[in-house]
Symmetry: C2
DNA sequence: TAGAAAGTCGAAAACGATTTCGGAGTTTTC
DNA sequence: GAAAACTCCGAAATCGTTTTCGACTTTCTA
């Protein structure tokens, strides 16, 4: 491997000058700079980032932290899109990304320790249990940290407009004529709180009384949990006319479960998801859902993290990314349950 | 950040001894070793991998190379599962993974150059255009390289049993009574060749004459291309009774296109995919397909790469991973087209 | 034309580890 | 009781960069 010393020797100058020429320092004459650059290319010089990092204390690496306990991390549709965004933006700015884990080669270590070993410049967190003390440790460290869909006082946050998201989709359901709507919520996190706020806001505006029955707990995005939630809704009787799920996969598994009980979607019951990932488009009929701009979520997080790294100011900030209703085919006006409307026809 | 010098000072010994104690060298007494380890933990020492890498020439980093031009890399269902496998196995062995790209911070560079900058220990390649001269350059370099679903004479290969895959699924279609089967193939790569071999083998065994009409070209995994292929099949007339697609997504988009023309699946035409990703299970009815053990594909690639790194012998090897038929609901016996069977009923 | 200012360059220290080799001290061997 | 063998440790070189600071040239200014 060719080093700056090789170039120095070939050019008859010192390694210091080579380094300066390569890094556009002003105190090297145009002539020598040119000679050095030419020689560097000629010899196929590639700078050694390890050596550079050692002295500059910057690795050009940003860490990505996400839940991988379920072994589904990267295959998690929402996350993989976010990650794609993070990666693209990081690359554009010259950073590589590294996955942060708790265990490396059989050695237990905290997330922070992993970052310190690799001298990660900053971290993007997504889809993770923010209650984990190790995550807290990381967020409270000196590292620049940006979280997606989580808000706290001392790091950057990029969030989807969850209040609006659930508000809009609920309003949409109401506009179709639904009054008996259930929101199946996932982890009890900030996101869930926001969504429930949006849900209730829409109900309030339509003067539909809220009841605890309208909220059903499930876990996030796991097939079995979604199925369980639906089973529960069916078992307790008195079916709602619409169900909103916390994510598209949950909605799809939910629909499958409903159908397996002979309940037709959307004829008997309307369903909506949340996320707007591609799978929603693959099922029939196309899933009604709220699209989150996942790629932008990732890109903004990446960008924000890099800003924090480069400006060295770590003030907490929050960026909200808009959401968009996708009118698919899994929601329609509810059946006229009783003959209430018949008298009207008599007129 | 605390260094080995800090530990040395605190223990009244030299940095050399600290290093040795930390790395289990034999020439340090149990007593001092213990003292050093204790102090290291007490001070919260975390080794600096950059510094270590500089001298040992090993970064504990493996690179992952995949196509990201289409901006769909990480969200590509098949790949994300493979990547998950690569990552898990790498982590278990103490390696981090880094995505290799052609462009970093607006600076064009070859894949190999990216690897050299980061001093990547080895590379796993998947889902990529193996014709790319940059990929060739990488494969011909001194780096340990393992490819998934590609075979060449000088690197490690992990491949699914594609011959068997298409053989089995074709045989299955034949066993249902299909004779007029189309295989929609993707990129003309090694994988495609193998699959076509399997396809023809099944036909031969059943004495079904092969015709060029049975092969229809499409691109790999892009929605529009799959739709186009189906449109073509419809337009040219004389529909086959079964279509096998090169991957599950293509199959799902294909089914959507067929249905949009009023063709029922599986009643009018049977369909099968390939890959066995989760989406196949989400659609109705469940997609008939061949499951590839994606996670294992990734894990084996990772493991093989690490072996090459650690043993320093880069002999080309090939590992084949089995596939498994999933009988879904998108394939059934073909309609009895004409009244050929009626005479039988007379009996 | 002398002195100041600007422009170039290089020696050397630093970053944080690993590893070689030899020396000092201790124990074993004959 | 001396030589040989073994234990334990540290000085110093090394990996490939960056960066400071002083020195030397050249150009500018009055």
């Amino acid at each position: 491997m060719v080093t700056i010393y090789d170039i120095a020797k070939a050019c008859g100058c010192s390694s210091a000058t080579v380094s300066k020429a390569l890094n556009n320092y002003p105190d090297v004459s145009a002539k020598t700079r040119e000679k050095i650059l030419k020689k560097a290319k000629e010899l196929g010089f590639v700078p050694n980032l390890q050596a550079r990092a050692l002295i500059t204390n910057k690795t050009w690496n940003i860490g990505v932290l996400f839940e991988d306990k379920s072994h589904s991390g990267l295959t998690h549709y929402f996350f993989s899109q976010v990650l794609q965004g993070v990666k693209e933006q990081a690359e554009e700015k010259g950073y590589d990304i590294t996955f942060i884990s708790k265990n490396l080669g059989g050695v237990e270590m905290t997330y922070l320790e992993h970052c310190n070993r690799r001298k990660i410049d900053g971290v993007v967190i997504a889809c993770i249990d923010f209650e984990d003390p190790q995550v807290t440790e990381l967020m409270e460290s000196d590292l620049p940290v940006v979280a997606i869909d989580f808000i706290t006082s001392h790091i950057g946050s990029i969030v989807s407009d969850n209040v609006k998201g659930l508000y809009e989709i609920t309003k949409y359901m109401i506009s179709l004529g639904h009054k008996d709507i259930v929101y199946v919520y996932g982890h009890e996190t900030h996101v869930t709180e926001e969504r429930i706020r949006g849900f209730r806001k829409a109900l309030d505006e339509a003067s539909i009384p809220f009841s605890e029955r309208m909220l059903v707990k499930s876990k996030y995005s796991e097939r079995e949990d979604s199925e369980e939630a639906v089973e529960y809704i069916i078992k307790r009787g008195n079916l709602p006319t619409a169900i909103i799920f916390p994510d598209d996969c949950a909605a799809i598994w939910g629909i499958k479960t409903l159908r397996s009980h002979g309940i037709k979607v959307p004829e008997d019951i309307s369903v909506a998801g949340f996320d707007g990932v591609e799978i929603g488009e693959m099922v029939y009929p196309r899933l009604t859902t709220m699209r989150q701009d996942t790629s932008r979520l990732g890109k903004e997080a990446s960008l924000r993290c890099i800003q924090m790294i480069e400006t060295k100011v770590h003030n907490p900030t929050m960026t909200t990314i808009g959401v968009e209703l996708i009118e698919g085919g899994t929601a329609m006006p509810p059946r006229e349950k009783d003959v209430i409307l018949k008298p009207k026809k008599k007129n």
